[in-house]
């Protein structure tokens, strides 16, 4: 018991130490706030009147989303002899004065010599770059479209992002021991003497391509910002399954057999930091399922019933849709942007 208390003390100390060691001395808030007000007022003509921190009433303003910002003329046609505007570097100096640690330490002359790819991206310096990083996704899957047998499964996926939007990878699900035959099946069989062929799964594995066409950020409760992306995934692999014996349990006993399975899905990834995210995905596995023979066994003799070739009936293209929730870990944890912001 005493050791437990000591352990708790050590744990508390460990919790406290990293945060303290990374925190810097708290600076007076007033000058910083004043600086914010000044810069906000200088850059945004509405801000001075609108920011409640400055004592002004927070009056909403009507805007035309398609109109240019106030005070800005529509862009003129370039003639080729304009001189570039001089930003003076005042904002950068302000940042360096206020927070030397945040002052960019880039040799602009050297940086300018680096080869440039003449392409502008809509989102510069994406919060979490994926290019040339590995992604490990442990997840838990739940069945979405089988009301007769649920197939929950733990799974894992591994992806390598060749570019920022395209990855190649593989995933694996383990179902055996977790399939659950719904009580509803027994009730239906008892009430109307109608059986439905049922199947259970053992595992599935697939190679996949992932494409990330959507990237965005959300403000949570108007207070904090988090980044997320949405992806589509598709591939080919195998799914091992077998029928659950419903129609002739006296003789039939099926073993698992893998079938070729195509898959396609969509997912959302919410980043907690630059290498750790939560994922939510819906994946459809499409394969050709072998169903139990539903022929009335009472009209056949014992030899027919014992013959394994009579146990399976029709084949049916089956969609197994599952929802997946899990985490995503990107490796390596850090990277350098190609260009300064």
């Amino acid at each position: 018991m005493k050791q437990a208390r000591a352990g708790l003390l050590v744990a508390m100390a460990l919790l406290a130490v990293p945060a303290v060691s990374t925190a810097k001395p708290k600076e007076p808030a007033a000058p910083a706030a004043g600086a914010t007000d000044t810069s906000a007022a200088a850059t945004d003509p509405k801000a001075g009147a609108a920011d409640p921190k400055k004592g002004g009433a927070a009056q909403p303003v009507e805007i035309d989303a398609d109109a240019p910002p106030p005070g800005e003329e529509p862009p003129a046609v370039a003639t080729g002899d304009e001189t570039p505007p001089d930003d003076g570097g005042g904002a950068l100096e302000d940042i360096c004065k206020l927070d030397p640690d945040a002052c960019p330490k880039v040799n602009m002359a050297e940086a300018a010599k680096r080869p440039l790819k003449a392409q502008m991206y809509a989102v510069q310096q994406i919060y979490a770059l994926r290019a040339r990083r590995f992604e490990i996704q442990p997840f838990w899957a739940l069945t979405l479209n089988d009301q007769f047998v649920s197939h929950p499964a733990p799974g894992i996926a591994l992806n390598y992002y060749m570019t920022n939007v395209l990855a190649i990878g593989a995933n694996f699900n383990w179902y055996q021991g977790l399939n659950s035959d719904s009580e509803f099946n027994a009730q239906t069989r008892r009430a109307v003497h109608v059986g439905v062929p049922l199947n259970e799964y053992q595992w599935s594995a697939a190679g996949n391509f992932t494409y990330v066409p959507m990237y965005g950020k959300f403000a949570g409760f108007g207070d904090f910002i988090f980044h997320w992306d949405a992806y589509v995934v598709g591939g080919i692999g195998a799914l091992s399954s077998r029928p659950i014996v419903v129609f002739d349990p006296r003789y039939r006993n099926f073993s698992y057999k893998p079938k070729i399975a195509f898959n396609a899905g969509i997912g959302v990834r919410i980043f907690f930091n630059r290498w750790f995210a939560a994922i939510f995905e819906v994946r459809d596995y499409i394969y050709n399922e072998k169903l139990e023979n539903i022929e009335d066994v009472d009209v056949h003799d014992e030899a027919w019933r014992q013959n394994e070739s009579n146990w399976l009936g029709e084949s049916k293209i089956t969609n197994h849709v599952q929802a997946q929730a899990g985490i995503s870990i990107f490796l390596p944890f850090t990277w350098e942007y190609r260009l300064p912001k």
Binding site: R5, S39, P60, V123, H193, G216, A219
Partner: protein
């Protein structure tokens, strides 16, 4: 004793330190030119003080016997940009049989078709009669018509919008996007099989028996009745979440997931109420045969906001 108090005090202090140090670290991040600034400036208030009218089509999920397509609308008044009060109402405009319903009906028709007295085998007919007698209470003529359906839904609800942001598609198209959650009570108009108790005279009269024809002409054969349906209103909680994609200043597209858990007898079977523990049949159809279902659906909507002029945050 003293030592225990000291250790407990140190633990509490350690806990406080851990929380405090986290808060201080957060404050440090907010120093600099952006200290005190809101997370988002000039946020377009798509909702604040606006009415929302959203025609909506909903599709039920994971149904055992009938899929329902509901057409309706969502009306909201947005008190703020993150809180709205309103209601969703919809009518079930299409009820589509599942594969199981079609299979049961196929077996049902085969089971109750008359046999050819000249050629029928007595053993096969006797087996059919066993099936008929065992299932006659659960399944009548035209099985799909006795399965339960959602006729309409009315749900007053509160909507909270904690997450607002934007989405870049192919790094070219930008869409203001929000994630919202909603909840409230739902009043659900249901049509399901009416109560049926062979112990009551009027119900027993519907189970007519006549003398069988050859090859089993020494027996009584029950005739298959067509069971009636009844309507009722179920009151259930409803909740879910959705995404809105704002395509313009006053228009948007919505995608929503909703659940309405309540108990109903969507098959019309006699499944419960008897031994053991009410989990077996009790030879009558009543409210004990209702089972809890999660009753999920997804909806797509076209959202319109009024007045059409949009405002922005400071």
């Amino acid at each position: 004793m003293m030592r225990r108090w000291v250790v407990s005090g140190l633990l509490a202090l350690g806990g406080l330190l851990a929380f405090e140090s986290t808060a201080v670290a957060q404050e440090i991040q907010l120093t600099g030119p952006l200290a005190g600034a809101p997370a988002v400036r000039g946020l377009r208030w798509h909702r604040n003080k606006r009415f929302e009218v959203a025609p909506m089509v909903s599709f039920t999920l994971l149904n055992e016997f009938k899929h329902t397509i509901l057409a309706g609308a969502k009306l909201n008044y947005n008190l703020t940009d993150w809180l709205a009060v309103g209601a969703w109402g919809a009518f079930g405009v299409a009820h589509i049989n599942t594969g199981l319903t079609d299979e049961v009906e196929k077996v049902n028709k085969d089971r109750w078709k008359s046999w050819d007295s000249a050629t029928a085998d007595a053993e096969t007919v006797n087996k059919t009669l066993v099936d008929r007698n065992a299932t006659v209470l659960s399944i009548g003529k035209d099985f799909p018509s006795q399965t339960g359906t959602i006729q309409w839904v009315f749900a007053p609800q509160v909507t909270a919008v904690p997450f607002r942001g934007k989405l870049a598609i192919f790094q070219k198209v930008f869409v203001d996007t929000e994630l919202y959650f909603f909840g409230g009570p739902a009043f659900v108009g249901l049509k399901e099989r009416a109560d049926f108790d062979p112990g009551k005279e009027q119900d027993r009269a519907k189970l007519v028996s006549t003398t069988c024809t050859a090859p089993v002409d020494n027996q009584m054969c029950v005739q298959q009745p067509k069971y009636e349906t009844a309507t009722r209103v179920a009151i259930a909680p409803t909740f879910g979440f959705g995404l809105s994609f704002f395509t313009g200043k006053w228009t948007g597209i919505g995608l929503e997931y909703r659940a309405m858990p309540f108990a109903w007898n969507n098959s019309g079977f006699d499944s419960r109420g008897g031994p053991p523990d009410d989990r077996g049949p009790d030879y009558k159809v009543d409210e004990k045969d209702r089972a809890w279902r999660f009753n999920q659906m997804i909806s797509v909507s076209f959202n319109m906001f009024f007045p059409t002029a949009i405002k922005s945050s400071p």
